[in-house]
């Protein structure tokens, strides 16, 4: 669907996209990076389970929500890749971090 034009001026970083280690230019927004990696969708809805992908790319539509570094519901179009970032497709409402444990 999309490809990223080569640009050797940019520093590359390692990230994990759905568990796969890839190299991408530092500072690319996560949505653009995900699309250019051939991923066609970034989340499924919690209601019908249908697939959704980035729509506006400017932070207003909330369709590009992904799980970034373990936190669900992050707008991938206004989040920028950093070394070691872990990015996952979001399923429905995502999950909450574990609560504190008690005896």
């Amino acid at each position: 669907m999309f490809k990223q034009l080569p640009n050797d001026q940019l520093e590359m970083v390692d990230i994990l996209l759905n568990g796969e280690k890839i190299q991408v230019p530092l500072g690319t927004n996560v949505a653009a990076m995900t699309l250019s990696q051939g991923q066609r969708y970034t989340r499924t809805t919690s209601l019908s389970g249908s697939k959704r992908a980035p729509f506006c790319m400017m932070g207003v539509c909330y369709e590009c929500l992904m799980v970034i570094d373990g936190i669900a519901n992050q707008r991938s179009c206004v989040t920028y890749v950093k070394q070691g970032m872990q990015i996952e497709t979001q399923q429905g409402v995502g999950s909450l971090p574990e609560g504190a444990h008690h005896e």
């Binding site: 669900a72 519901n73 409402v93 999950s95 909450l96 971090p97 609560g99």
Partner: protein, 366 residues
Amino acid sequence: MNTDVLIIGAGLMGSSIALQLAMRGCKCAVIDKASPGRHASGANAGGLRLLNRDPAEIPLSLEAAKMWHEIESLVDSDCDSRFTGQLRVAENKSDMAKLEERASMVRAMGYQHEEIIGKKELYQLVPALAPHCVGGLLCRQDGYGRPYHAVTAFRRKAESLGVTFQSATEAYTIEQEGKDWKVKTSQGTFNSSIVVNCAGAWSGKIAGMLNESVPLTPKALMLMVTERLPHFVDPVMGAASRKLSFKQMQNGTLIIGGALVAKLDFKKEKTDLDWNQLAESAKTVLHFFPQLQEVRIVRAWAGIEAYMPDNLPVISASQKANNFYHAFGFSAHGFQLSPVIGRIMSQLILDGHSELPIEPFHINRF
């Protein structure tokens, strides 16, 4: 327009009263200066709470709870109600003592609905709760509903029995001519044998038209709602010694309140959220559920509600004129009472008295 009973205010109380009167064959009209459920009735947190009621309200609230459990038979809709219980959490010994005192007071009155639970049961009930709590006070038959759905269900059922609802109809003057009432509004004059004032925060103004003064204070109560989350808590949560009211709705969103008051320009009907208070509220939520840190708030708002100095409603005939009735001032805990208020008012109007004890709510107490 001519009608038997004219109800001013198309909120939950007005709709519920109209429904009960219509069920007994009365011709009713309901007018509202805005639209049905525009303020407190539509904008409240939807708590169905018998827990921690003022003793005077317990008989009414118990009857209302029964009605809520069978609400579909009354209004053909479950109003999205769920009965997951309401819980007040104790964080330490003194909290627990406070809750135990309350429980024994309720028991001494002959009621069994509020029960003390220990730490083990607390965490069985709410495993996601932060580990420092020690117990709680629980009312299992409590829960929550969706306020605007309830207003709509009551209205539609009443309409099906012939009640007319008219929006954008503001009452300007109320005069008695002979036995009948003449209510001049922004949409013409209504003639009615009986008038009921359930205009919420504007009830004081309506009572004022009869020169019946009431110490009503309009207040704007703030709520916030989060994005949809995975299911993690069942009961509606309160705390023994912190301002907290918190529930996860069926759809996964979290509604956070707790009697937080916004700035209000009553004349302009403008509310201004107080973020510092909402921040305290967010902090309290995180104190009990630290795993919610990254959860996003989608909306915050404030609904305009009528408060009485003793936080008890006015449910009575007028002291100033015959064939005029009041049901207002529910002081932010009217949602649960709404079905029973309809029944009480219909009895008061048609039979001259109610089966339930409503003396404590008489307008003459002020």
